[in-house]
Amino acid sequence: MYSLGKILVGLGVFAGLVSAPAWYGLASGSKGTPPELEKSKEGKDCIEPAAYMRAKHMELLDEWRDAVVRRAEHVYVASDGQHHDMSLTGTCLRCHSDPAKFCNKCHEYAGVDVFCWDCHQEKKRGL
């Protein structure tokens, strides 16, 4: 063991760098609490249970996209048997009327880019 000291110092620097984000978080005093999201104005349940939506909404929307665009299917039969029109603007925005207060807020917190609204309309208008 010729360079035990150097190795230990190196390991220490490495551990410090790797854990830097945690230290930074502690030092800046942010508690990491999830953002307050706007509750649905219609006050009813989502198309699937909230826990499922929280964890799997991206998979659900992927499936909606393929169903509507590629298989010409427009109706989603939820696990409770209810039928819904598979439309981001038409169905999701009926309750979550402002993506800035719902989708974007959580996505910013999680650091995940959401680009649905580059094309899909953020406000339901009609026609």
């Binding site: 590629r70 010409a72 039969v77 696990s79």
Partner: protein, 256 residues
């Protein structure tokens, strides 16, 4: 423990563990077609140029399509987005023009759009299957998958595809409708109003043309012998398709 009994117990354990996993994977939800969705074996369109000529300067079909599909009005012709538009007759049917064709025939405005070919070159060259042919003949576009390579635009012999070189949103005039806009870097084109067929409505250009009392555009299912398009295709011997010699088999027919 003997090897035999160990394997038995291990096998049972794996099977028991697989049940909750299979339950979690098995989904209670599903997707299906909307009630009353328009279904066809082979969608097709017939455009009657003579009827269209009776209404000089009419652009009802183009206007209806542009408004509903949030098509931007970009002044720079290099960046134009077009789904359905009017083109000079001599550019649409080059083979039908002779040195003696009168100027007024050459200049006739002719309605053009994606031909929804039986053998679409655009689909063949698309590396991501962003554009694909549906079983009912519609050549569909999935903007989500488009990587903007523009092979399809090179492949299409009819120039029916447009590329978003710039963000289209600033060029959409009036209040946008619910139909998604496109974004920089994707190709777009006419989809025979697939989103409307899916909920039992007919293409907008057809309805708009009927709305003017002209009825120059007829749409329907060639697989249904009783449909209006089937009747026209059977009864008109002078039906023309654009560039049939290249073997794409377009399904937009013209009565010249």
């Amino acid at each position: 423990m003997r090897r035999r009994s160990f394997l038995k117990i291990a096998g049972l354990g794996v099977a028991a563990g697989a049940i909750p996993i299979a339950r979690a994977l098995g989904r209670a939800s599903s997707t299906q077609a909307a009630p009353g969705a328009a279904t066809g074996k082979r969608w097709a369109m017939v455009i009657d140029e003579q009827k269209c000529l009776t209404k000089q300067g009419c652009t009802a079909c183009v206007q209806a399509c542009n408004k509903f599909h949030n098509i931007p009005a970009i002044p720079d012709p290099r960046h134009e987005i077009k789904w359905i538009w009017k083109e000079r007759h001599e550019n649409v049917f080059k083979e039908a023009v002779t040195p003696y064709t009168p100027a007024e025939v050459k200049e006739r405005p002719t309605v053009v759009l994606c031909n929804h070919c039986d053998n679409p070159p655009c689909v063949r060259v698309c590396p991501t299957q962003a554009t694909f042919k549906r079983p009912d003949g519609i050549v569909m576009m999935d903007e989500h998958r488009c990587i903007g390579c523009r092979y399809c635009m090179t492949g299409c012999p009819y120039g029916a595809r447009s590329f978003n070189f710039v963000d289209p949103r600033p060029y959409i005039h009036g209040e946008p409708v619910d139909y998604p806009t496109r974004t920089t870097g994707v190709v777009e084109k006419c989809t025979f109003c697939a989103e409307r067929l899916g909920v039992g409505k007919r293409p907008l250009c057809v309805e708009a043309c009927e709305g003017t009392g002209c009825g120059a555009i007829v749409f329907g299912d060639l697989g249904d012998p009783n449909s209006a398009v089937s009747a026209i295709v059977r009864s008109h011997q002078e039906l023309v398709r654009r560039r049939p010699e290249i073997g794409t088999s377009p399904h937009v027919f013209y009565i010249l």
